[in-house]
């Protein structure tokens, strides 16, 4: 009896070797692809984990990019619910850890207004703690305000200013108001000024004429004197009226100053509200709590 083993046809000679080679190549290719993806994801780089607490995780996702001055320095590793809201775990590449001081703040930002969201790290100011963050450290999160919050703020800031403007406008329209009285008094005073000036000029001319005539004829001067004194009296009366009106105008000055102070304050409030609006706030450096320098010579010289 001949052997029952079936030998492959001649045209399939070496097929096992070729299949094995193909499978090995495919496996190596797949493994290389996985390694490349892992490398691109930064899995071969050592990271330092830090975290922050946020009241709301809206817009924050696992795997989201963490950027410092626009440079990718890490990713969001985890988002957990805790009592204070959410705890967001960040994995920062160790190459960049020296550039992240402990006083740093995290902020949720978008590339443009509709671009991809990412966590932006804002390094602390000169007064804050400059030592680099370490494993497990917590940094502060600067909350991103929603459109409702912003509207609330604008409304909150603008309401008193609008009320004040309305009050000022009403006061200006009222004929019995201090402002209208001041303007009327000022106008009357201005209207009387040409007459007073004319009388003064006339007085100067009369005086000159009187002095010349007095030199020539004392008797004639005697006749002119009553007229002169009469004109002088009228001029003094005009001046007296003008000064009393000027006094009245000056009396209104404190009220006007107070009004302008309120307007300045309102303008400041509106400016602050505008600084916080989404149109402007990305272009303004975030403020930070500042500490006076702790001076070792604070007590020296008093002892």
């Amino acid at each position: 009896m001949s052997s029952s083993t079936v030998s492959p046809p001649r045209r399939f000679g070496g097929i096992r070797k070729q299949v094995n080679t193909f499978l090995l190549t495919a496996f190596l290719g797949f493994a290389g692809l996985v390694a490349l993806v892992a490398y691109k994801q930064g899995m071969f780089e050592s990271h330092t984990e830090i975290h922050f607490h946020a009241p709301d995780a809206t817009g924050i996702n696992k795997g989201m990019a963490v950027r410092l001055h626009g440079v990718l320095v890490g990713t969001v590793n985890d988002v957990q619910l805790v009592e204070r809201g959410v705890r967001v775990q960040l994995g920062i590449k160790n190459d960049y850890i020296q550039r992240l001081p402990r006083g740093s703040q995290a902020r949720l930002a978008r590339e443009g207004y509709v671009g991809a969201a990412s966590i932006h790290i804002l390094p602390g100011s000169a007064g804050a703690d400059r030592t680099p963050v370490a494993q497990g450290d917590e940094i502060r999160f600067v909350a991103q305000k929603g459109i409702a919050d912003m509207l609330d703020e604008v409304r909150q800031q603008a309401t008193p200013a609008l009320q004040e403007l309305r009050r000022v406008a009403a006061e200006m329209a009222n004929p019995d108001s201090d402002f209208r009285k001041s303007v009327t008094a000022l106008r009357e005073m201005v209207e009387e000024l040409p007459a007073a000036t004319r009388e003064l000029r006339q007085l100067a001319r009369d005086t000159d004429r009187a002095v010349n005539m007095a030199a020539r004829a004392g008797a004639q001067a005697e006749r002119e004197l009553p007229l002169l004194s009469q004109k002088l009296g009228a001029t003094l009366d005009s001046l007296n009226a003008a000064s009393s009106q000027a006094r009245e105008v000056l009396g209104q000055a404190p009220e006007l100053m107070r009004g302008s102070g309120e307007l300045v304050r309102d303008t400041q409030e509106l400016t602050q509200a505008a600084r916080r609006t989404w149109l402007l706030r990305d272009y303004i450096e975030p403020s930070q709590m500042r500490t006076l320098p702790v001076d070792s010579f604070e007590s020296y010289g008093k002892r």
Binding site: E153, T159, F297, E298
Partner: protein, 276 residues
């Protein structure tokens, strides 16, 4: 179109009651009060500065903002100490020391302990100052922003105790630490202390060399009180070297600076030295 929307929003706001302040608004209010406090300190209006820092501290406490609480408590304690209100200065620091539930950074705790030591030093409680210095050192790790200041206070305590060798070593450490961290104010303080140690050791040349360096830095920083202290010590160094004329010139300069800065203590000391 945008203008119309804005006009609509602005007109709609006039018809509503003001809402309750949000967290961000409170945070902004705390920062605003902090900035106002700093401006008042710059203009020498200490009572107004204290009011602003107290307000900022209150806002930070309401938000449980640990760093804000520490910053404003330290600022308030500095202002109160300058006013001579030591009890109030300590009370402000209690906002950090008595708050066990919040996590303050070691750097902040070191600063708070250092502030307590400075208050004790001002009240001549040297033992208390020593205790607080030990705590500050404990909080201060390898790289601590307050490291140079801690060495300088240690040098002052050693000088008070008459240990000039220990004072020299501490001031030298402060000088090295401040140079490394770029803290010019503490570098000038360290140089001044090295000058004072030179005076105590009867070494007029060394004292003068260190004090002139301190004076150059203080002038650059624009610190009138420190300039006056440098000039007084330079006068003493000149007197130690037998140059009475130069000594009187330094004292007169210190008196002019003290009077211009309205520093009563410095001016009084300069007058006393001129009268000798």
């Amino acid at each position: 179109m945008r203008l119309l929307v804005l006009l609509f929003i602005v007109s709609a706001t006039g018809c509503s009651a003001p809402p309750k302040p949000s967290t961000a608004a409170r945070q902004e209010a705390a920062l605003e009060a902090n900035r106002k406090g700093e401006a008042y300190v710059r203009h020498g209006e200490l009572e107004n500065a204290a009011r602003s820092y107290r307000e900022a501290l209150r806002f930070s406490q309401a938000l449980e903002d640990a760093d804000g609480i520490a910053a404003n408590a330290i600022n308030l304690s500095i202002v109160r100490q300058r006013q001579g209100r030591f009890a109030d200065a300590r009370a402000s620091l209690a906002a950090v020391l008595d708050q066990r539930n919040l996590k303050f950074s070691n750097a902040r705790l070191a600063e708070v302990s250092l502030r307590q030591a400075l208050l004790d030093l001002d009240e001549k409680n040297l033992a208390g100052a020593d205790d607080w210095m030990a705590k500050a050192t404990g909080h201060c790790a390898e790289r601590c922003p307050a490291g140079a200041a801690i060495h300088n206070v240690r040098a002052q305590l050693a000088l008070q105790a008459g240990r000039t060798d220990a004072a020299f070593l501490a001031a030298r450490s402060a000088h090295d630490a401040s140079r490394a961290s770029g803290d010019q104010a503490e570098q000038a303080n360290a140089l001044r202390l090295l000058g004072i140690v030179g005076l105590k050791n009867g070494d007029a040349a060394s004292a003068r060399q260190h004090l002139e360096q301190a004076l150059a830095i203080d002038r650059e920083l624009g610190a009138p009180r420190k300039i006056a202290l440098d000039l007084l010590a330079l006068g003493q160094a000149a007197a130690l070297g037998g140059d009475r004329e130069s000594a009187r010139a330094y004292y007169a300069r210190a008196l002019a600076v003290g009077e211009a800065d309205r520093d009563v203590a410095v001016a009084a000391e300069a007058r006393a030295l001129l009268a000798q």
